[in-house]
């Protein structure tokens, strides 16, 4: 049986999305900026897609900027806002952000901007009071993720947004993992910018979006054309934009399913594995977590070895171990939480989607324990 539980890495493209995109490769291939009917008839589909994305986020269509991916959205927001604010305004982020935020911050730090990285506690949560304290020294550009890709831990974003706005700062959130999995209403939350990615919600890779609240000033990241209201140069990727619009429409309809059935499947998986595998633990705040994500450490064994055995029985997941990344250190998220090394290298992330079934979850619960047992027999840290 094939069971795909790596949906925080990427998702299968929904058949409805492929269907919606098809005509834009064959018949409707014009450039939406052109002054003829080839282009003119296409432009309106781009705007319809924009409306669908906006509807999922509780935003206005003109606040949505299409990008090539989540990384571009994050780079545009973090670099654009910081460079607009100037050298005297610091940037505040966390130690557990995705590299698409951490790397631009590191780059800005090298250029002379002040970068403050907030710590997380053992459950992966930040201390909101620490943020408020940091902001008491003056306004800042703040970039804090909505939900963590590795642990699924959800930050109190509404509260954070209010604190940042009260301090007169600019607030960006990387919501790549949250969009489509949690209810989001930007009309009620004072977030200035929000990044999302298509391929995390059943659209294809190569398309993303950045929400920019009306009145937020940022410097464009890609220079070169008048597209997207002058905020991003480059001919619109029409088929993928249409695909993203359709995916957002589907995500809106599926949100209830995500919050109930998918959560129940995740909980079933967790309960089953914890019961059958001694010396295993959940990483991250169980109360405030994405409905689809479970990060479990199997102590005394290493993640890559687990993944290879899992793959042999058809199960796809991912790991925060050093070996899987090609780097030599375990995931920065797991380390920031102070997870002991006995458990960090053996952390496995299972991330579900609405396409998973109970039968698949039971198959995984059945196949993981023998793999863990087998590898522990090899481990010098387990006494027989």
């Amino acid at each position: 049986m094939d069971v795909y539980l790596d949906n925080n890495a990427t998702t299968r493209v929904a058949p409805e999305v492929i269907e919606a995109m098809q005509p834009f490769f064959t018949e409707l291939w014009g450039n939406p900026s052109s002054m003829h009917h080839f282009g003119g008839q296409v432009a309106r589909y781009v705007e319809q897609a924009r409306e669908k994305v906006a509807a999922l986020l509780g935003a206005s269509p003109e606040e949505i900027l299409f990008t090539s991916c989540g990384t571009e959205s994050n780079n545009t927001a973090v670099r654009g806002a910081t460079e607009t604010a100037g050298f005297e305004v610091p940037i505040i982020t966390t130690r557990v952000e995705h590299p698409a935020v951490l790397e631009p911050c590191r780059h800005l730090g090298e250029q002379g901007y002040m970068v403050v990285k907030l710590n997380v506690d053992a459950s992966g949560q930040i201390d909101v009071e620490e943020l408020a304290e940091t902001l008491s020294h003056g306004p800042a550009v703040v970039s804090i993720m909505w939900a963590n890709n590795e642990t699924g831990v959800v930050f109190p974003i509404e509260r954070i947004a209010e604190i940042v706005k009260q301090a007169g700062g600019v607030f960006h959130t990387d919501a790549v993992q949250a969009v489509g999995k949690l209810p989001i209403d930007l009309s009620r939350t004072p977030i200035d910018m929000l990044s999302m990615s298509g391929h995390k919600l059943h659209a294809p890779k190569g398309i993303g979006a950045l929400y920019i609240r009306k009145g937020t000033k940022i410097r464009p990241f890609l220079l070169g054309g008048h597209q997207e209201g002058g905020r991003r140069g480059g001919t619109e990727n029409v088929p993928y934009i249409v695909g993203l619009g359709r995916a957002c429409e589907l995500a809106k309809d599926a949100l209830d399913d995500e919050m109930t059935r998918v959560t129940a499947l995740r909980d079933r998986l967790e309960a089953g594995l914890l019961e059958r595998c001694p010396d295993s633990r959940i990483n991250g705040d169980r109360e405030h977590r994405l409905p689809n994500t479970s990060n479990i450490s199997f102590q005394y064994i290493e993640g890559e070895a687990i993944l290879y055995h899992l793959s042999d029985v058809g199960v796809a997941a991912s790991s925060g171990s050093a070996c899987t990344s090609g780097s030599l250190e375990p995931s920065h998220v797991i380390r920031a939480m102070g997870v002991p090394f006995t458990a960090a290298h053996g952390s496995i992330r299972f991330s579900l989607s609405r396409y998973n079934t109970e039968e698949q979850i039971d198959y995984v619960i059945e196949h993981v324990p023998p793999i863990v047992e087998r590898l522990r027999k090899l481990s010098p840290f387990v006494n027989e």
């Binding site: 070895a305 050093a322 070996c323 090899l378 840290f381």
Partner: protein
């Protein structure tokens, strides 16, 4: 996924010689949970001094398990004189090759063998002993070890050194040092490395120098990972320290960080210092 050969996958999925020999003639334990792989090798000799049995237990990825399995297969039947000539390259070749970034798994096997042979011959500890100048603080890799992988594998770049022994793969602060070692080793220079300053110090001078060394050499690397260290006391040659922050929760602190701190202090202050961790 990594491009593993069929032989690597076979030795990973069906590892040979798993376990521990009771009453062994030699034991070698290398790596640690912190480093992401660890190997315990035990062997037993026959009457002719050949390795009659070799067994392993490994914590690590697919190629670490396969390399350990390969090592035990390779050395069975060898005399210790033959076994000590086994290089990491032979372990990798036995498996039909390893991905470049995984070559350190073969080095881990060779190290375990070295330690086990030393343990048999001298009765010294079955664990790796940090000798000489530590270059990579993150993984506790000495100059001598880096020179050896460069020589045995004809390495020419820092990236290769990192692939083969992990040095430079953490915070990256030692990369300039590795570049220098590469230059020197490749030019086959035989000059001895700069010796630690060995002047007679008064107690006050000693404490000052220890504080300076902690501030300059040790604290920055701990702080990178959200940790810290506090100097509690200096009593004669005993330096009492306490780890803070992330370091305090790190349960490998007692056998890697303490060793690194001690080696640094011996290098820069006096070579008879003993570091002890204050128990709270």
């Amino acid at each position: 996924m990594w491009e593993y050969t069929d032989k690597v996958l076979d030795h990973f999925k069906n590892p040979r010689n798993v376990g521990e020999i009771e009453d062994p003639d030699g034991v070698g334990e290398v790596g640690s949970m912190a480093c992401g792989d660890a190997l315990k090798l035990t062997f037993k000799l026959d009457e002719d001094g050949r390795i009659a049995d070799a067994r392993f237990k490994t914590f690590g990825c697919a190629s670490a398990i396969a390399s350990s399995s390969a090592l035990t297969e390779l050395i069975k039947g060898m005399t210790l004189e033959e076994a000590e000539k086994v290089t990491n390259r032979e372990i990798a070749e036995f498996l039909g090759g390893l991905p470049e970034q995984k070559m350190h798994c073969s080095v881990l096997g060779r190290e375990a063998l070295d330690v086990a042979i030393r343990n048999h011959r001298t009765g010294q500890s079955s664990k790796k002993i940090l000798e000489g100048k530590v270059i990579c603080n993150c993984f506790g890799i000495t100059q001598e070890e880096i020179e050896r992988v460069i020589r045995e594998n004809d390495l020419s770049t820092v990236e290769e050194v990192t692939n083969y022994c992990k040095a430079g793969g953490g915070c990256g602060a030692c990369i300039p040092d590795i570049e220098q070692i590469l230059d020197e080793t490749r030019q086959q220079k035989t000059e001895a490395p700069a010796a630690a300053p060995k002047r007679r110090l008064t107690t006050v001078q000693k404490i000052h120098l220890i504080e300076e060394t902690v501030d300059r050499e040790i604290r920055p690397m701990l702080q990178k990972d959200g940790g810290d260290l506090e100097l509690i006391d200096v009593i004669g040659n005993r330096v009492i320290i306490s780890f803070r922050g992330m370091c305090a929760q790190c349960n490998v602190a007692q056998f890697t960080m303490k060793d690194v701190v001690e080696t640094k202090l011996r290098e820069f202050v006096a070579d008879n210092l003993v570091v002890e961790e204050e128990k709270i």
